[in-house]
């Protein structure tokens, strides 16, 4: 409508998991690829552990709307236990769903995706490999970011690594490694025709 290459993404997580940080870092990657990004949090007070959302919009044109995102092309799920109806709200039929989940539960998510492209990455386990935990909650932000950059074909791994330099407040080495693993290990789930 206003700009043909407009990309709109919504990230679902829990307060403290780094959804806002991931949106901001993805914006940094988009910026390095010549896009104008807008990254913003859900408007309101954030509480640890409570469901939160963060948003990212980017385009080759600065002239994008400034409203919140209601019909994202891509939804990223940090915590697979979040309510499915919240996750799917407004997600375009031709859109993409990226979930932090292991491959053995892919049938469940195929049904949820209902014909949309579906990608899974076992981010909680990868984060745990690097000790990325806070009060037992896996900090999957960087792993999910790596996966997101890969599935959107937003940038090569090297650009992602450069974008993260000096941008992560704590555990920089571990998060960099997590982002690399997310980038490399995210997989598209080939879905049965029945769900398409």
């Amino acid at each position: 409508m206003y700009t043909e290459d407009l990309m709109e993404i919504r990230i679902h997580g829990r307060g403290g998991q780094g959804a806002v940080l991931a949106a901001t870092l993805a914006a940094e990657v988009a910026f390095r690829r010549g896009y104008y990004p807008q990254a913003f949090p859900f408007f309101g007070a954030e509480r640890r552990g409570a469901p939160v959302a963060a948003f990212l919009r980017y385009s080759r044109s600065f002239l994008m709307p400034r409203c919140r995102i209601y019909e994202p092309f891509c939804v990223v799920v940090f915590d697979a236990a979040l309510p499915k109806e919240v996750i799917l709200e407004g997600l375009k039929k031709e859109g993409i769903l990226l979930v932090n989940a292991s491959e053995d539960i892919s049938p469940v998510w195929s049904e949820v995706a209902a014909g949309r492209k579906l990608y899974l990455v076992d981010a909680s386990h990868i984060a745990a490999d690097y000790g990325l935990l806070s009060s037992g909650m896996p900090l999957v932000s960087s792993v999910m970011l790596g996966a997101l950059v890969k599935i959107l074909q937003l940038a090569p791994l090297q650009v992602l690594e450069e974008a993260l330099q000096g941008k992560i407040p704590q555990f920089e080495r571990e998060n960099l490694e997590g982002a690399r693993r997310g980038y490399k290990e995210v997989k598209e789930v080939v879905q049965d025709a029945i769900f398409r």
């Binding site: 206003y2 807008q38 913003f40 408007f43 007070a45 002239l63 400034r66 409203c67």
Partner: protein, 385 residues
Amino acid sequence: MERKLMNGNQAAALAVKLSRVQVVCAYPITPQTSLVENIADMWARGTFPGEYVSVESEYSAMSYLIGASYAGARTFTATSCQGLAYMHELLHWAAGARLPIVLVNVNRAMGAPWSLEPDQLDSLSQRDTGWVQFYCANVQEIMDTVLFSFRLVEQTRIPCMVVYDGFVLSHTYEVVELPNQEQVDAFLPSPPSQGAFHPSRPQTIQAVTDSRYLSRVLQERHLSMIKVPGVVKEIDLEFQEIFGRSYPLAEAAGLEEAETVIVTAGSLAQTVKSTLYSLNGGKEKLGLLRLRLFRPLPGDEIASLLSRPGLKRIVVIDRNVSAGTGGIFAQELRALLQGTFYRGEIYELNLAGGVDLTPELLNKGLQALAGKSGSRGKIIWGVDL
């Protein structure tokens, strides 16, 4: 020029640092909090050379700055909604005493009930305090307008409020061109000597006055305020020379051909602008007028921008309401256009309470208003559409 991703609050904080502000005094309040946290953080790291003073309320923050400003310091504070209202009495004082203070207000709805939505009533309620008010539309403009304001207040000795939408701009990261310190120093010389207070020269100022003297003071303030649009234009020329960016008093887009002009302020304007040529299937010729300098309202400039023979209707989008009267920007525009060439209606699409303006809502609003003829003052509420 270096470009970096940052949000509105970070941009304002960086502008304060680059402006070599000497005294910052503030009290945190959402959604302003990260702005003052950023300044406090720079202060704690030793990269902000000014004083950062924590106080127990916004009332004290403005009081402190009034004192610091009397003493000749370059001063800054920031707040939102209830915090700004709490400063109200002192906003009058700062303007009356002609103190060059810069304040950022991050728009947030006034309670009750409690809300975090970006309603504009907080800053608009301070319309008559005698402060200059700018409404910003993007993060770059926030940084530039804060820098600009220090120059403006020191030249005019009228305090200035830089206003932007809570969350929509305060918390949104986007690409900003960073000015460097040399550029800012060239634009903003040291704060002027202001005949500061000193214990060796005790004096009373702003003592009790009678109506004749007071009326002169108020007349002088009024006349000084009227000159502000001209001063802003002059300073903008220098700003453009140094930073390569320029800002109009009011932003116009597509006005030449427009049959309908949408008038709004702040970040709402970008949503309108981005959809200007595609709304309503592109059938209607639409234009945009964004109010940027709101106090003083540059009446001549706005009237001349709107002076187009093809103009059939004006639609004002307010994200505020003066209960019982309507949107405040719409009221201002009606007053401004009274007795001019424009004889058409001024319609209102009201988004009070922070209703989000999507291209779809804008389209619906324009269509709903199309059916309203001869109903001057009629409001369409976004929440009803």
